[in-house]
Structure formats: structure tokens, C-alpha cells
Subunit: 186 residues, 2 copies
Amino acid sequence: MTMQASRTRRSFVMEEAVAILGRTPATLDAMLRGLPEGWIVAHEGSDTWSPFDIVGHLIHGEQADWLPRARIILEHGEARAFDRFDRFAQFSVSEGRTLASLLDEFAALRQKSLRELAMLRLTDSDLDRHGRHPELGVVTLRQLLATWVAHDLDHVMQISRVLGRQYSDEVGPWRAYLRIIRDAPG
Amino acid sequence: MTMQASRTRRSFVMEEAVAILGRTPATLDAMLRGLPEGWIVAHEGSDTWSPFDIVGHLIHGEQADWLPRARIILEHGEARAFDRFDRFAQFSVSEGRTLASLLDEFAALRQKSLRELAMLRLTDSDLDRHGRHPELGVVTLRQLLATWVAHDLDHVMQISRVLGRQYSDEVGPWRAYLRIIRDAPG
């Protein structure tokens, strides 16, 4: 592998993955806690999500997606497909909640998920085990865990984008230099 | 303004802008401090930037871009164009530094910038004042400050993207669901 290649792609390494997963709650906390309400409920139009919606979605992921699916792979392999994940669960789950309480809940759930992940003491051959996604078909446990990491980062990216695009009309000619505003909406 | 419009675009309000600007150092700290080295130097190929490079760029922005340009507008209006900003200064400035020391420096500089910004006690008519960008032409102080906010968020977005794309080959079929990986590189 060239130096270049090694800087653009990483192989899945558990400690490196956990280093990202463990930081996401504090990242969201630093970005969002105490922000004026207008930022929290901002979105990108029609049925796109606000920072508030996204934190609710991440909570539901801890409850219904990542560790639960890892357990299905370990216990049932390809024999049992994952339960479908409800991408809209947060709209009922988060109703009437404050952002602060959602951030607290996400942090607690993530800490619990990572504790349970560590207790599984997954080996390389565990990571190669197959499961079955209801739409995508056969996947490995390694792919599930790598997706957990990328999914966190995707939503941190989304929150930044949702916030930054709020000033699309305010930056004037600088728009040309700001990818966050210039690019296609989310 | 419809509810919809009010959630997709915000007018510049100083307190709301400062709320974002003040959170960026802690956001970067939560995301990056102590991460394994491979994540810190990861990039998107050829001459794209790593998280390490981006923190250096943000430091240079505090020193040479935002407040200095605001002062040029207030003191000289359109009569004096801004100094050109060196988008590659971080490569020499950050050489041999640790990420931790760059994060500390950025946090200190940002705190100082925001203290000085508050001391300017800018009025609405100050925000309407014109300056001259060496390439973009006439801009207002309000546009400069809105760009400062969007620029922070653009780079938080970029760091998330750089990190997430490292697992492009590891997520397998989930690639289809992950915008961070599916979309065009940075």
C-alpha cells in the first residue's frame, strides 16, 4: 500500500472504530447543547431532518440497529434477517422532549453500547461472520461495525451542513468559496 | 415568511452567529483530541486536507482573516482591499506541531477573537458597511461574519467527511445508504 492509499482508506480496526464511536456524543454535545432554538430546528427543506431530529435518530440506532444487529449475526448468522430499522421513529420518540435530554440519553446509550461491544470480545473470525440485511442481503459483522462509524460521521456532517446552509443568503459573494452552501442540498 | 422558509434560511443575528463560533473549538476537540494518528492524517487523496491540516487552517483564519478583515472594513471601508488569505499557510505553520497544541491554540485564538468582536459593539449600520475583497469585490461586514460561521461549519463537515470516507471499502453494501461515502469526493 502506498502512503497515499494508506491516507485515503483505512481497514477496519476495532480500537480505531471505537475511538470514533466513543467521541460522537461529546461532539454532538459541543455542537448543539444550548444553541438558540432556531438552529436546533433548522433543516434543509421539505422532509429533511433538523439537528433535533438527527439526535433522536441516533438514539433509535442505539436501541434498534447496531448492537441488536450484531447480536443477531452472532446468534443466528444468515438464518435470521435483521429487523427493519424505522428511519422515522425519532419523530414520535422525540416528541415533547428537550434537546438536552436527547443528548443525555444518546450519551448514556452509546456508553452502554460500547461497554457491551467490548464484552463481546470479538475476534477477527467473528468479524467475518455473515448476517442478512432485509434489503441489502448478506453482510458481515465487520461491515456492520464499519457502517456504525461512517453513519455517525455522516450525521455529524449532516448537522454541520444543515446549520451552515442556513446562511446561504447571508454570505453574499463568498458563496462561491463555500462548498457547504454551493453544493446540492441534502 | 412561512414556517418552512424560516427553518431553511436564517438572517444573520449576532448572538446566533457567536453561539456557533464559540462552540467550534470544543467541537473539534471532542472529535479529534486523542484520536489514533491514522485518523488525524487521513485525507481524501491528492492535495486534499487532513483533520490536522484543517485545524492549522482555522488557526491561520483567526490570525489573518476574520477579525483583521472586520477591522479593515471598519477603518478603511472599500478604500483598502483585504490582504489576500494564504490557503496553504497551515502547511508551514503546523509543521512539527502536535494536534493537541494546535487545538489549544485554536481555542485560545477563537476566545480572543470573540472577546474582541464583542468589544466592537457592532450596530446594524456597522454590519451594513462595505469592504473590498481582492477577488470577490464589494462585500459587507455582515457577509464577512456570516461567512465566518459557515466556514467553521464547512470545515467540521469536511473533517467528518474525510474520516467517514476512510471506511468506503469497509462498509460493503451499506455504501448505498451512506451519503458520506456515496457522494463525490472532497
